[in-house]
Every structure is written in structure tokens, then in C-alpha cells.
């Protein structure tokens, strides 16, 4: 076991995967010599050579398009899009190509690849460095979408993603790279070294895709969330004293519906929490599924606590971010609802 930040855990996952399988190649903008703007690929080029880890031209469609060709060849590319906000030029390649190659060729060609991208706000990135586009991926048949909330999961999930036979979108909440951020932006940063889930095995291990984790057991209300918001949920629960059960989805698709249904059937109340915008967000899918499967157990309407339906603003970042105060109000409201 070692203490790792999420950056170190991701780097360790790449290192372990590259060491075990010569077909794993890693590339993207600033990924090679420099080791990535967030340092996730630092040292990999030195260790594995330029054939396995290299810099790419600034062309997201080129990065993803070449990775599809490589995956069809038999490699397992794990590419980085510098910010999730930059993935739109590659969207056609992701949606029409990577996601459908197995289907349209009836398994003649497949696309085992991972597209890593830093997601979410909290770093004063403004509207082009803060978006959470997960719902644009979960809406696409043929993709798997993963959002880890801590170093231990990030490593185990990333290794699973790299070993998966299908394309996986791996969204890394960038505000969690260096510590478990709970939304209290005015308090000193907590490092991962002080967090239980910052303790990470050094070798190979996997966390299966499609399996959620219960971060806190509770009986009053279920909070269904993922990524950065897992930590917001934990602090809001402590601050309100409401006995919430917190589900960290880890993988949005395939979704661990059984864990959600079991929890909401027990608590009878549910808040869906994400940083992304509200309308047609992944929370809408969760709310629909929960009402369908838990209707007769529900004691209050399902609530959604999310970012507002605006672009992610710069100066008003903390007005946008669904932090512990906003979630705390929702928790109190849902406990009073009947």
C-alpha cells in the first residue's frame, strides 16, 4: 500500500497496464515528453519509450480517430483529451465510430480503447475548462462511462477500463486530483494523504465497471451521486445530521441499478446529486429509473440537486457549484416533504 493522489493513482494504473500489456499505448496533447498538463502521464515516456507514450497534434478528432484505428488493429490505446470541454471535435468519432464499430460490423472489428478526460469545475476554469459532459456519453449506445471519486477507485476502475473489450469514457473530476474536495472552497485543501481512500495498492488490481459503492450507510434518505459530489454529500450529511445513505455510482453506464433500488426502497427518499447542468442531465435518467422501480416505497418526490442550466461561469463559480449549503437545504426539505 502507498499513499497516492488521484493523479498518482491514475499514473500508476497506466504504468501497471503498460507494464503488463505491450499493446497499451498512451498519447494526447502534452502527454509525452512533458507528462500531461495535470501530470497524469509523467515519466511514462521515459519508462516505455516514444512508441508507447507520445505527444499528439492539437486535434481531438485526430487523437480519437487514430485511436479507433489502433484499437481495430489490436492495440489498446488509452488517450487523453486535455479537458472534457475539448472533446466536442472528437464527438462524431466517439459516437458514430468508436461506440458502434462492434455493432455495425457484427463483431468483425472491435474498439477496446479508453478516452480519459478531466471533468468538472472548482478550479476557476470558466466555461471551457469546467464542464461535466457525462450525459452526452451515457446517451450513446455502445459506450461505457466511468467517473471515479477517489484514488483507490480511480486506479482500479482505470485498469478495468483499459482491459475492457469496449470503448470506455473515463471522466476524472479534476478538483479531486489533489484532494477530497467537499465544496467548502474557503477552507484549506485537504490532501489525499489524510483520506482512507488515498491508500492505494501499488500493483495490479481492478474494480469492476458497473458496480456502485455505498460510501455511508443511512436510513433516512438516499443520495445518489458520483465524482466530486460524493464528498459534498458526505460533508452535507455531517453538517445536517441527517442519516443519509450515500451511493457513489463509480460507473454511470452500465448502471448498478440494484444497489440504488435496494437503498431507496429502504429509505423511501432520494436526492440525485451532480455537478452537471440540470435539464436532460444524468440525474433525469436516475430519477426516472428510481420512480419506476421504487414508486411504492417513495415517501417524497425525488429531488435533483445539480449545477444550474447556464454555462459554467468564472467569477460566479461557487454560485453555480452545488455545494454543501445547497445540498443541505435539499436534505432538510426532503425530510419535511410528505
Amino acid at each position: 500500500m502507498a499513499r497516492m493522489t488521484m493523479i498518482e493513482a491514475i499514473r500508476s494504473a497506466l504504468d501497471v497496464s503498460m507494464g503488463r500489456d505491450d499493446n497499451v499505448v498512451v498519447y494526447g496533447e502534452d502527454v509525452g515528453y512533458f507528462g500531461g498538463v495535470f501530470r497524469c502521464t509523467h515519466g511514462l515516456q521515459q519508462k516505455y519509450g516514444v512508441n508507447r507514450c507520445f505527444d499528439a497534434p492539437i486535434s481531438e478528432l485526430g487523437i480519437v480517430g487514430t485511436a479507433i484505428g489502433m484499437a481495430a488493429y489490436g492495440l489498446r490505446p488509452c488517450v487523453e483529451i486535455q479537458f472534457a470541454d475539448y472533446m466536442y471535435p472528437a464527438y462524431d468519432q466517439i459516437v458514430s465510430e468508436a461506440a458502434r464499430l462492434r455493432y455495425r460490423s457484427a463483431g468483425d472489428f472491435t474498439c477496446p480503447m479508453v478516452i480519459r478526460m478531466p471533468t468538472g469545475g472548482g478550479i476557476f476554469g470558466g466555461q471551457t475548462h469546467s464542464q461535466s459532459p457525462e450525459a452526452l456519453f451515457t446517451h450513446v449506445s455502445g459506450l461505457k462511462t466511468v467517473v471515479p471519486s477517489n484514488p483507490r477507485d480511480a486506479k482500479g476502475l482505470l485498469i478495468s477500463a483499459i482491459e475492457d473489450p469496449d470503448p470506455v469514457i473515463f471522466l476524472e473530476p479534476k478538483r479531486l486530483y489533489n484532494g477530497p474536495f467537499d465544496g467548502h472552497h474557503d477552507r484549506p485543501v485537504t490532501p489525499w494523504s489524510k483520506h482512507e481512500l488515498g491508500e492505494v495498492e501499488e500493483g495490479h488490481y481492478t474494480i469492476p465497471l458497473g458496480k456502485a459503492a455505498i460510501r455511508r450507510e443511512g436510513s433516512a434518505v438516499t443520495i445518489v451521486t458520483y465524482g466530486t459530489m460524493v464528498h459534498v454529500a458526505q460533508v452535507a450529511t455531517e453538517e445536517t445530521g441527517i442519516d443519509a445513505e450515500i451511493i457513489d455510482l463509480r460507473t454511470l453506464l452500465p448502471l448498478d441499478l440494484d444497489t440504488i433500488v435496494a437503498s431507496v426502497s429502504k429509505t423511501g427518499r432520494c436526492i440525485v446529486l451532480h455537478e452537471a447542468t440540470l435539464t436532460s442531465g444524468f440525474g433525469a435518467e436516475l430519477a426516472a429509473l428510481i420512480q419506476q422501480h421504487c414508486f411504492y416505497h417513495l415517501e417524497a418526490p425525488i429531488m435533483r440537486v445539480t449545477g444550474w442550466d447556464t454555462p459554467y461561469p468564472h467569477a460566479q463559480e461557487w454560485d453555480y457549484f452545488p455545494g454543501p449549503a445547497r445540498l443541505g437545504r435539499a436534505l432538510r426539505d426532503i425530510m419535511e416533504a410528505r
Partner: protein, 410 residues
């Protein structure tokens, strides 16, 4: 200072539209045999002129002349002719099948048969094409079974794509034919990635990317040239300039660039233009570009100058956007007629043998069609199962798809 004149918006227009006399005076045709054949390791800077000329081998009399005459035996040439005749007969039958309601859609190759048929012969085992919808010659010239192709077109119970794809969107890894997308140009950058993978692994397989004149306007084309140039990928970047993108003439995509081949020059990629209706020239240029890729010399851009003599697909009528008989005036003729003329000129073929071959090939195609139809057509007979609809979205069926499959009761 005088006021400048008002700005003018420029929209290119083709030389002629319906009701006007066809005009190909803008297509400058050099004499056969007149273009140099450089060594494959030539500095791209020294052959910039090849991006603006047209490499031709067959002259008007059907003689093969000049430095690009390829080493193809009489038997190989006859085989090439038979491939093209097969493709044309296949097209005729499938076009008719669509008109008879046996499938939803079809796309013919009329006039462009030489491009894919000759290119396939120049490729080696294990090489991979990333085709568009008008390169079925890559399959036919590789002896892929016609019945399989037809079953795909009919989306019947034997369709290798299990009914999921539009007609003609074939896929055959074994035959070096990447799954056709239907979205344009996406495959171009994928071909570069596939070629990069071959180089990363230290293998010796090369890739061939395919795109039409109109689709070169997609940003995927630009990205492909950047990546191919940067990593010196072992890939042949093919542009089939058949003059028309549905109703839009090639000038709309080409803009101010002299030719499509010339797009390669800014990337330091050797760029050649070839007479795409000349089987020998097409083969020779393909072989040159493939050898460059194989010898680690990097990518080559090849523009095949040809003409789409038929409609874009079964869904359009060319007389609505170009002169009715424009194809008769196309100055590079018909690829089948020209190879036939050459074979007769060298004493390897006769009109009689040609007629015989046509009849024999048509009979083979009709027999294949009969067999394919025994497995069903789009609206009659055997069809892929509804259960197949849920397979292959992922390697393993996830719970949500299992629930959906249960809902339709299969």
C-alpha cells in the same frame, strides 16, 4: 482615395448544368506516357508537379506507353478486366433489385471500376482498406463471395452484418476491408491510426484510406493529413475525384486549391494524380505508393481522376443537376472499354471473347443472386432475428439491454 468597390461573395459554379452543353475544357489531359516516374524515395519537394498533372499509361489507341507501364501479365490484365466486368454486372443486378423493392438502397460504381479493382491487386496480405461506399471492387478483386455481398444488401438471414447496416456497408477484416461507416471521412483518420499501430508494433502491414472529392472538405481529412505527416504513417491516402458529390460539383470542396492532390503538398506528403479510368496507370501508381509505405517512407496522397457515370445512389436523378449526356463527353472514357481495347491491341483478347466473358459473368452474378435471395430479401423471406438487434452493442449484454430485450419478448 477612391471608395473601394463593394465586396463580392463568391460561389463556384460547374462548367455546365442541365440543358447546357457538357464542358470538360477545364480538365487538362496530358499525353499518355508523358509524366515522369520518380524513384519511391524521391524528396517530395522534387515532384510537386505530379500533384497537378495526370499520370496516364493507355493512349488513345490502347497502347501502354511511358515510364509508368506496370509489369502485369496478359493473364493478370484479363483477370482485372473480369473483376471490372463482375462489378458492373453486380451493380446492374443490385440496382434492379432495389427498383424491384428487394432492398432499400444501392450505390453503383459505373465508370469508377478501375480504381478499386486495380488498387486491390497492388495490396498485400494483411493490408487494410478503410473504404467508402463506392469501393466494392476491393472485395470483388479479392474474390470475396458475391453471395455474401448480396446477403448484406438484402439484410437477410445470412447477412454477415445481421441486418444492422444500410446496403453496401460491408465489413470483412479477413479481406482487408474495414467496416464502412456511412458517415463521411471518419475512416480516413482511422486508417492513419491503423497504420501507426502497424509501425508501433514493428509489423509490415500498411493501410489504405479512401475518400471522395466532396468529403475531403471534412475536418477528418485535414486531421488525417496532419497525423500521417507527423508520424510518417505507412498509409496510402486515396482521393477518388469522380467530379460529383451528389449534386455538388467538385469545385465546391476543392475551392482555390488547384487539385485535390495538391492538398498533400503543404504537409510534405508526396501527391500524385492519376487517370482513374486507366487500369494500368491506377495499378502502377497504387503500387508506387504502397511500396513507399511498405519501405517506411511514409504516406502518399493519390487523386484518381475519374467520373461518376451513374447516379450517386438509388435516391437521386443526375439529370436534375448535370447535363443528361455529360458522361458521354468525359474525356478519360470508360475503364472497361479502355482495358478491353488494350487487351485486343496486344492480341490477348477479342470482341468475341469479351461478349462471351460478359455473358458468363452475368450468369455467375445471376446465380449468386438466386442463391442470396433464397436466404431472403429486405421485405420477404428469411430475416435476421430481433434478438440480434441487441447483440454486439457491447461484448457482453449489460443489464439495461437485457431488460429491454425482455420487453420485446425475445
Amino acid at each position: 482615395m477612391t471608395d473601394p468597390s463593394p465586396l463580392r461573395f463568391h460561389v463556384p459554379v460547374p462548367a455546365s448544368r442541365p440543358g447546357e452543353k457538357p464542358d470538360f475544357s477545364h480538365v487538362v489531359i496530358p499525353k499518355a506516357g508523358s509524366v515522369q516516374r520518380p524513384p519511391v524515395d524521391v524528396d517530395p519537394k522534387e515532384i510537386r508537379d505530379l500533384a497537378y498533372s495526370i499520370i496516364r499509361v493507355l493512349d488513345r489507341e490502347g497502347e501502354a506507353v511511358g515510364p509508368w507501364v506496370p509489369e502485369l501479365s496478359k493473364d493478370e490484365l484479363i483477370r482485372g478486366l473480369r473483376h471490372m466486368l463482375t462489378l458492373r454486372a453486380f451493380d446492374a443486378r443490385m440496382q434492379m433489385a432495389q427498383r424491384q423493392g428487394k432492398t432499400s438502397f444501392y450505390m453503383q460504381h459505373t465508370g469508377e471500376e478501375a480504381v478499386s479493382c486495380a488498387f486491390r491487386i497492388a495490396l498485400g496480405k494483411g493490408d487494410m482498406n478503410f473504404p467508402t461506399y463506392r469501393q466494392a471492387g476491393l472485395l470483388i478483386a479479392h474474390d470475396y463471395p458475391l453471395v455474401e455481398m448480396m446477403c448484406q444488401i438484402y439484410s437477410n438471414e445470412r447477412d454477415p452484418m445481421k441486418g444492422r447496416q444500410l446496403p453496401v456497408m460491408y465489413s470483412s477484416k479477413e479481406n482487408g476491408f474495414f467496416s464502412i461507416s456511412g458517415n463521411l471521412t471518419t475512416q480516413y483518420i482511422q486508417a492513419v491510426g491503423w497504420a501507426m499501430a502497424s509501425a508501433i508494433k514493428g509489423d509490415n502491414k500498411i493501410a489504405a484510406a479512401w475518400v471522395g472529392d466532396g468529403s475531403t472538405a471534412e475536418s477528418d481529412f485535414h486531421a488525417a493529413l496532419v497525423f500521417a505527416s507527423t508520424y510518417k504513417a505507412p498509409v496510402v491516402l486515396n482521393v477518388v475525384n469522380n467530379q460529383w458529390a451528389i449534386s455538388t460539383f467538385q469545385g465546391i470542396a476543392r475551392g482555390g486549391s488547384g487539385t485535390f492532390a495538391a492538398r498533400g503538398l503543404g504537409f510534405g506528403i508526396p501527391a500524385l494524380r492519376v487517370d482513374g479510368n486507366d487500369y494500368l496507370a491506377t495499378y502502377a501508381v497504387a503500387q508506387w505508393a504502397i511500396e513507399r509505405a511498405r519501405r517506411n517512407l511514409g504516406p502518399t496522397l493519390v487523386e484518381y481522376v475519374t467520373y461518376r457515370a451513374g447516379a450517386h445512389s438509388t435516391s437521386d436523378d443526375p439529370s436534375a443537376y448535370r447535363p443528361k449526356h455529360e458522361s458521354d463527353d468525359w474525356p478519360l472514357g470508360d475503364p472497361i472499354v479502355r482495358l478491353k481495347q488494350h487487351l485486343i491491341a496486344i492480341g490477348a483478347w477479342t470482341e468475341e471473347r469479351h461478349k462471351q466473358a460478359e455473358a458468363e459473368i452475368m450468369a455467375t452474378v445471376i446465380a449468386a443472386q438466386k442463391e442470396a435471395e433464397s436466404f431472403g430479401t429486405l421485405h420477404a423471406g428469411g430475416k435476421p432475428s430481433s434478438r440480434d438487434m441487441f447483440e454486439d452493442v457491447y461484448a457482453e449484454l449489460p443489464p439495461h439491454l437485457r431488460r429491454q430485450r425482455q420487453q420485446i419478448g425475445v
